[in-house]
Subunit: 167 residues, 2 copies
DNA sequence: TTGGAATGTCAACAAGACTGACATAAAATA
DNA sequence: TATTTTATGTCAGTCTTGTTGACATTCCAA
């Protein structure tokens, strides 16, 4: 597609192995920063990153089913179930049997759950906001473009659906 | 919150909570894609992501010490040691006692280790290359700018040093 | 020379992922 | 109606990868 600006002698220097390696390492180090603040908060409580992810996506799509969450998170039901069980026991998440289909469980955050979600996402947003502000709008647009191109196609679908449900 | 415009007429629309949330989710889904290909290869062998990281950075800086690797990877020495032990047992990494300081161990990939590193990074680079090509050079520049701004400052230091040692 | 700091190893444990087997209930279908 | 499929939950066991604690070795400086 946008292959370095057409074929007429334009440089593809940004596609050298060295550039790609730098991109890979940037991704590695940046992801550490990306998760560092929520991880600190979660460490104080008895929760981990898995709980954060569950709470995040339940907040994003209240009433989502277990199966739906499974597909978004890309883990096994056994693994997700362990996390959900503790969140429900601790009163952060509620599970309601579906009205139309009684096999389904619809998931909602309680007030306490929403408070935790807020606390976690505030921390993560603060870092993202600082990075976005430092980098400027054009860089942010490029950032998003590359990330979308890097997703697996099924995940890109999930991401796009979430994105569009936002506003 | 970040709700619109500054006084000096510049749009800050890219800093709304909604935009930040999309950035967070993009990061989450993209990182899954980023690690998917190496993870598949590693799953067939008896290795995990931790082995990949170790092999990657030993390849990047041959002769690096355990302590140095520790700082880059951000795990405990005990955790790294387990990984290194299996890699050494399997003949992928060599550990040499330091000449100047005999407490240090200097780490090198064997031929087999270099072959695995190549195989893993080929897979990861292929995806990165496709994403970079689809996104174009301006987007790639923005991508790198935002990622660097998102790192913790110590990690940014490590990243920059690696980056500059590259060419 | 002696004690502290740096470096690395071994052991034990926990979180969170996995697979496999199985149970239950409800929906869909033959 | 009988059977199969789907959605969910649970138990048991394994693996990777993180953690702390205890310890050995080596270096260096008081």
């Amino acid at each position: 597609m946008a292959d370095g600006r057409t074929g007429h002698g334009e440089s593809l220097l940004y596609l050298t192995d060295e550039q790609l390696r730098q991109g890979i390492e940037a991704m590695f180090f940046a992801y550490r920063g990306f998760t560092a603040d929520p991880d600190r908060i979660l460490g104080d409580l008895a929760y981990g990153r898995a709980h954060h992810r569950a709470v995040h996506f339940i907040n994003r799509a209240p009433g989502t089913t277990v199966n739906n969450l499974l597909n978004i998170l890309g883990v096994t039901k056994q693994s997700l179930n362990r996390v959900l069980r503790t969140l429900i026991e601790d009163g952060l998440v509620e599970s309601h049997v579906g009205k139309a289909d009684k096999r389904e469980r619809h998931l909602y955050l309680t007030e306490a759950g929403a408070a935790l979600e807020q606390r976690l996402s505030d921390a993560q947003r603060a870092r993202m906001r600082a990075a976005f502000r430092d980098a400027g709008p054009e860089a942010v647009a490029g950032f998003r473009t590359v990330l979308e191109a890097m997703m697996d196609s099924e995940l890109r679908g999930a991401y796009t659906r979430l994105k569009e449900s936002g506003t």
